[in-house]
Each structure stands twice: as structure tokens, then as C-alpha cells.
Assembly symmetry: C2
Homo-oligomer: 148 residues x 2
Amino acid sequence: MDLFEQGLENEWLRQLGERGSRLTGPRRAIVRVLVRSRRALEPLELFDAVRVEAPGVGLVTVYRTLEALEELGLVQRIHESGGCRRYLRAPQGHQHVLLCLRCGQAELFDGDDLRPLFARVAARWGYQIEEHWLQLFGLCPECQKASA
Amino acid sequence: MDLFEQGLENEWLRQLGERGSRLTGPRRAIVRVLVRSRRALEPLELFDAVRVEAPGVGLVTVYRTLEALEELGLVQRIHESGGCRRYLRAPQGHQHVLLCLRCGQAELFDGDDLRPLFARVAARWGYQIEEHWLQLFGLCPECQKASA
DNA sequence: TTGGTATTGATAATGATTTTCATTATCAAT
DNA sequence: ATTGATAATGAAAATCATTATCAATACCAA
């Protein structure tokens, strides 16, 4: 049992509870899978994974729970050129995503301090900048080996 | 008539032709609207705009033409938290997108040279980096005024 | 233990995108 | 200019992911 993931699981459940949500069986199972996954998962993949341990859970509940977790900022949607339907455990603080194009494995990294760049861009166009995304795509070590 | 946009329109049609596509009325109309739009457009918005000038064009043709233009790299999909269905005239060379959260107005800017950052990330995780996205979101000057 | 109510899963509905297919339009070769 | 092979079109139907509906159930404060 991974202590970090165990702690994260409890923390997510705590935040859900604090928000006024009930800690039901389906929610516990969904959180459990999400916290432990190092891949970004589509709702249907998540559904399948959850049903291994909790066979009764419905797809709709998966969608609803993802929505709640996204509102809490515990999970984030991953954007890819082929579609944007995968979700990943959200980064702590302001981190960025590095995604394997082949297997969907995700890593998080701290960006440089990009604020000077933002300030220049904001000044240049008169925009008030609210948000930014930086995402890198590539091949993870395993997929590099596999394709060599 | 804007000479730059006129030139861009001809260039897109040329590239479509070179690729083996026929230069049909519907395609000309769709290209014309896309080249002139400074906003990122959803397929349905594009459809509506095209039908002002070319009433007979079907929505399916809009989808098909967007697909062809995306393959040619002339148009790019814009990613937003609320969904990822808008398309924008693609940047020249390697530029990044600055998008107004309210009205969808888009600007393109040259990024700093981010390669040192990529090199560090690649080394740290053993990834082979293929692609990157940097996107900024904010309020354009007009929308700032409107909300003040 | 109980009761009020949030949550659930099955089903149906929705909405965007794709596929199908008969008709039409383009354009290279006359 | 005409022709003809075939790419492209638009209408309609199909598909797919996501969302809404609703009666039954499970949670949890009292």
C-alpha cells in the first residue's frame, strides 16, 4: 500500500465531505482508482477500472464524480490533439503536464517562472491574463524502447 | 480588401489544390470566412457565417473542409476549459495563442525560446519531446472595458 | 433506529460529429 | 468548348459521448 496515495485518497474524501457530498461506495471506488492511476483516463476507461472492484457502479456516476472532483480542482482534464476527454489527478500548485503520445502516461513538472513572458504578452496586446496552460507531448521511456 | 488576407486565401486554395483537392464553391466560401476571421470559430458558427454568402453549403461540408485544412496545418483547434471545438487560422512558424475568455478573440505571439526548459524536462523524465502547447487566456481590451 | 434527502443506476434524450448514398460539380484530357 | 472519370456535395440517418429524468436506494445527522 502506497502511503502517499492512501493519504491523497483520504484527503479527497475529506474535501468531498466538507463540500457537503456524501461519501458513498461508488464515490470511494472512483476516487480510489483515480488517485492510483498514473495515466490520464477517459470516463469509459475509468468506468471499466472502477467496475473491477465495484461492479455495480454506473457510468453516469463516473461522469458526476469527475465533475465534482474537477470543481474541487482535484482532477484536471487533459487536452490532446485527437480529443480532450481524459482526466488526470491534478497537479499540486502550479505544475505542467508532460504526456506520452502513445500510452497516455503522464508526468507533472514545475514550469520555469513564465511570468516575465506573460507580462510582455499582456503589455503587447493589452490583455489581462487570467490563466495559462503549458503542455508537452512526447514518448515515455518505455514507448521509446517499444518503437525502437 | 485586405491584401494580406487576400494573399492568404489564395495560398490556402493553392495548397488545397496541390494536395489534390478540387477548388469548389463551398470550399472557397469556407476558406474565405476562416481567413478573415480574427475569432476562433465553432463549426456551427462557421457554418452560419458561410451561409450568409453561400446559402446552399451544408454543415457536413464545413466539417470536412475543417478536417482538410487541419491536416494541411492551415487551421488549428483551440483548447478551452469549457470544450475544444473552436478553430482558428493557424499561426505562422511557431507561435502561441492568446485567447479572450469572453469573446473568443485570438492573438498570436512568439514564445520565448522554451527549448532549454524542454531539454531539462526531457532529461528529468527520459521523455523524447515531440510537441508542445502554450496557451494564454485572459480578457481582451474591449471585454475589459465592457466588464468595468 | 429512523427519516429526510442526496445519490444512485437504468433508461431515454440530447447534441455534436460521422457515415451513407444518390446527385452534382470540377477539371484533365480531348 | 465538350466530355467523362471521379471527387465533392447536401440531406438524412447513424453513431458516440455526455446529460437529463426519475423511481428506488443508501447515507448520515438526529
